[in-house]
């Protein structure tokens, strides 16, 4: 690897950008440990606001396609992020949707059950838990007149979009955050020019269950438990014990990290290959393991055991799902 890299005369240009995300994706890049030196040997980091002082106007001045690779994490929550997504798309040869937020919206995408107005009310309204004091009820405005002229803030969107819903994306890297091994695999593939088909997700095409070491019997569930209700036995499949383990519908690659520490998979690696809608896949799988043929009993098992269906089936993928969001007409009702 290092050799192929050093043979190259000119270094490539790498950009790492964040939009609506938590910063964990940047940290995950550091988890490739000493290999970060190989990355440094292969690339100049031209832009990464998290760790380096780059300027947007330097990117704007670049020729189209001048950046070799851009790892873009985060969803598109406001107009400034959309601008950056378009700019980096234009200036990059390879644009990677890095991690769950960019790929499918992730936790910020759950905001799609609300809209701008209801989110602002929660965050800024006088007396709300998050803004106990705001006596004049001041909300962020797109335009503000000041003596020096007009100041602009980005427009906050009603609906968070994934990167691919905003611009053309070359590759996807799953995970919240992506696994170091897989990041390295992606970087190596890019450097060596051994890239898969455009639009593919870099990773494996199996499910977490296949990487999970727990013992499996026939799954027959009469009751679902929340994680705090029971201490599961450490050897049997968690789903069999009535915990909503999402391993059955989730792309592998993490080595079944969560079940390994007695905690159900919550689905952070998103849908497996060929699945349109993660939540639909998971709902379908869960329907197969409920042990009842009686309509009323089924309704009860589901209503009692899964009080937050969107947060359960679409925790990471609401924005990237077929429906993308909750109905705007019923927000707050």
């Amino acid at each position: 690897m290092t050799q192929t890299v050093e043979k190259k005369a000119a270094k490539g240009k790498l950009a790492i950008y964040w939009a609506a995300s938590c910063g964990g994706c940047e940290i995950s890049i550091l988890q490739i440990d000493a290999k970060i030196l190989d990355v440094d040997a292969a690339f100049d980091l031209v832009f990464c606001p998290c760790i380096a002082d780059g300027k947007v106007r330097d990117i704007e001045k670049m020729a189209d396609g001048e950046i070799d690779v851009c790892l873009f994490n985060g969803g598109i929550r406001n107009s400034e992020q959309e601008y950056m997504a378009r700019l980096l798309r234009q200036k990059s040869k390879v644009l990677v949707a890095f991690g769950s937020c960019a790929s499918e919206g992730c936790i910020p995408g759950l905001g799609n059950l609300n809209d701008r107005k209801s989110i602002f009310e929660t965050v800024y309204h006088q007396g709300s838990a998050t803004a106990p004091e705001n006596p004049q009820n001041i909300y962020p405005q797109h335009e503000t007149k000041v003596p020096e002229g007009i100041l602009y803030l980005p427009v906050f969107y009603d609906t968070l979009k994934t990167l691919a819903q905003t611009v053309d994306v070359d590759y996807f890297l799953p995970g919240c955050p992506p696994e170091a091994d897989n990041i390295w695999k992606a970087i190596t593939a890019i450097v060596e020019g051994k890239l898969p088909r455009k639009g593919s997700t870099i990773g494996v095409n199996t499910t977490v269950c296949e990487e999970c070491k727990r013992k499996r019997n026939e799954k027959k569930i009469k009751k679902f438990y929340r994680t705090w209700e029971i201490i599961p036995d450490e050897e049997t499949c968690l789903l069999e014990q009535g915990l909503m383990c999402c391993g059955i519908a989730t792309r592998a690659g993490c080595g079944a990290l969560c079940p390994a520490v007695n905690s159900p998979c919550i689905g952070c690696h998103g849908p497996n290959e060929g699945v349109d809608d993660y939540g639909a896949r998971l709902m379908s799988a869960v329907a197969s393991v409920i042990d009842s043929n009686n309509e009323e009993e089924i309704d009860r098992i589901i209503a009692e055991g899964i009080p937050d269906p969107v947060g359960t089936f679409y925790r990471f993928s609401l924005a990237g799902s077929l429906l993308r969001r909750g109905s705007k007409a019923t927000v707050g009702k």
Binding site: E82, V155, D158, K161, D276, S284, D299, S321, S327
Partner: protein, 165 residues
């Protein structure tokens, strides 16, 4: 408030062995039912993945009908019980997303029950008509002031360039 001019668009997934034949029978027996349903034939109600329903709603359908053989009479033994469980979870999730439960309905109809299926279709159409159009894609296409905000950003950046150069 019922809008008389609103014609609900309903997608119907009908099982090949019973309800599709029931729909066929209703047709040949000239039983009248609302023309609002586009019937799609599936081999079994157990073949209807929740994503089919989501896709229909996301593509502009106002309602979805899933029709299968009566419980105990599925040609693939137990699959319509699976359909029953999937439907229960799907309904629960759709409700949480703000889709009224009356828009998506699972019904059973044997091959001889053309009349019953026609009635179930009419009932669903009437209920969806009462609810009005779903217009789901409109939920995400408007991100208010978006284009305008992008323009101002471009302008600001251009101005910054002018100052610099």
């Amino acid at each position: 408030m019922v809008n008389e001019n609103f014609e609900p668009k309903i997608v119907g997934f009908c099982c090949n062995w019973c309800s599709y034949r029931a729909a066929d029978l209703a047709g040949t027996a000239r039983i009248k039912y609302s023309p609002n349903v586009r019937v799609l034939r599936v081999m079994c109600s157990g073949r209807v993945d929740p994503s089919f329903v989501m896709k229909a709603l996301a593509s502009g359908a106002d309602g979805v009908l899933i029709a299968g053989c009566h419980p105990g009479e599925c040609h693939y033994i137990e699959q319509n019980y699976k359909a029953m469980r999937r439907y229960s979870i799907l309904k629960h999730t759709l409700r949480a997303m703000g889709v009224e439960p009356d828009r998506v309905r699972l019904v059973w109809a044997s091959a001889a029950e053309g009349q019953q299926l026609a009635e179930a279709i009419d009932l669903l159409v009437a209920d969806v008509r009462k609810l009005g159009p779903l217009k789901w894609p409109g939920n995400w296409t408007e991100n208010g002031q978006r284009e305008e905000a992008l323009e101002t950003l471009l302008k600001e950046h251009e101005e910054a360039f002018e100052v610099l150069t």
